[in-house]
Subunit: 314 residues, 2 copies
Amino acid sequence: MTPSLVIVGTVALDDVKTPFGEVHNALGGSAFFAGISASYWTSVGVMAIVGSDYPSKGFETMKSRGMDVAGIEISKEPSFHWSGEYGFDLSSAKTLQTDLNCLLSFKPDISKIYPAVHTLFLANIDPEIQKKVILDLSVRPSIIALDTMNFWIENKREKLLDVLKLVDILTINEGEARMLSGESNLISAARIISAMGPQTLIIKRGEYGAMVFNRGKIFLSPAFPLESLKDPTGAGDSFAGGFLGYMASEGGKDDATLRRGIVVGSVMASFCVSEFSSGGMENLSPQTLAERLSEFSEQTDYRPVSPIMGMLGG
Amino acid sequence: MTPSLVIVGTVALDDVKTPFGEVHNALGGSAFFAGISASYWTSVGVMAIVGSDYPSKGFETMKSRGMDVAGIEISKEPSFHWSGEYGFDLSSAKTLQTDLNCLLSFKPDISKIYPAVHTLFLANIDPEIQKKVILDLSVRPSIIALDTMNFWIENKREKLLDVLKLVDILTINEGEARMLSGESNLISAARIISAMGPQTLIIKRGEYGAMVFNRGKIFLSPAFPLESLKDPTGAGDSFAGGFLGYMASEGGKDDATLRRGIVVGSVMASFCVSEFSSGGMENLSPQTLAERLSEFSEQTDYRPVSPIMGMLGG
């Protein structure tokens, strides 16, 4: 059976150093994090490429989450490898090294494995691959979401603009939204980016949450605050995965569903960053998820506003 | 009649330069901004000192907002003068010059003018003055809130710690919370700061909103996003003023009232930054305030969460 959400992106091995420790060849990659996160909410298939050095633990982790890994190609080249470091405030990664390796020969043919896709997430990867995936599908998915990064905005801007015309939802961080639009103000930036194609723009603001522009409406969501935060790697991917997993499961794309999806994404990202690699997202019970969600809801609740309106004579 | 909210702080003249223009000798000061903002919600008295050069327009502006200015002393020295500049992203001010002038001889005697105060706001000023004000009152106010800044944390730490023991609510920004506590993580920082005295800590995060720690409970509030933002000067003071104006008017200090107060503060700060000086806060109708509040409420609404809970079997 075709999974409700298909994610195309990277499955990688990461070396990560934060003030709280370091890991080598840890499980990582945009599609890996997004998939693990989404797997709590819907059926997930991943399309990616790994090397023959990719550990069986990676496949086992994904399979134990019920993910379909039939679309993960195994290359003779080594796996994509990323190495990065975070400073005291954990706010941004410094990339130390990127070895594309097998990623250079990644040419996914989605139609062979998933000819009909309900929700498609093009996680961070070369925009030419993202475009090929969309064009390879004879029936357009109900939702196409895309994530990208500063590297593609700077180095493959035209290709990125090409694929943006074809997607419904774009997720990027604040700095990237400014870079892509050339505008410092995020409301102005959102208007420019929406005109490039995506009717929904989700601006990720890390520990500050997300700012969503959906067909002229704004939604603001804080991030769940954590006292013990170990490794931000994959936070944005987990956010997007949780969000799209929820959307795929609901089936709808109205504004109310989208807002609840953003909240789900925020909750999932908070689990992701609590441990290195995917350690914080591997064994979450429905009860643990429900508790975090309740806590988030409690931390953002200030209603009713009627007592304030009353003072204004309303 | 004693106003419900008494604010002690600075009334100043500012030179401000932002990417959108510049002003000279504009009306400013912590007590000025907080007072104008609070005046929409409760009766306000201001205690401050100005020089003989302070323009009558300043007094007229405050009086037109119904503020009691009987506690503003007029000195022979020139007014306190601040000069600052904001860069492209408006996120933080670079102080170019600070001339304390008459502020050096400010020795307010609150008991002479307001012997009984319901809500007291000690806006940003020397912590020794803040402490004197509290000690001069024979009856403790129902709510004492205090704002401070990096300068006092660095240069008068012991005096600041002295006065913090006496207050209920502290408002500071993120960097200052880290500086005061010596902790990078804000939840850890909040625990340390609460042990210094204030049972409620309000961390101001500029365009990202506020994070509130109230007796073990966390409340997260986004900021209202603006496309046209001209001058951030006074945003934090206007936020605190709106918050405390609402609290003073409600009379209560339970968590629900406090959360609504934070929302009022966020709304008021959004008007403050929309024009230079207090221009954005001078003529707001109840309808304009209610509209902004409705819009904020709409932008932060994602409830009910029951459809998410339903997926978790709850």
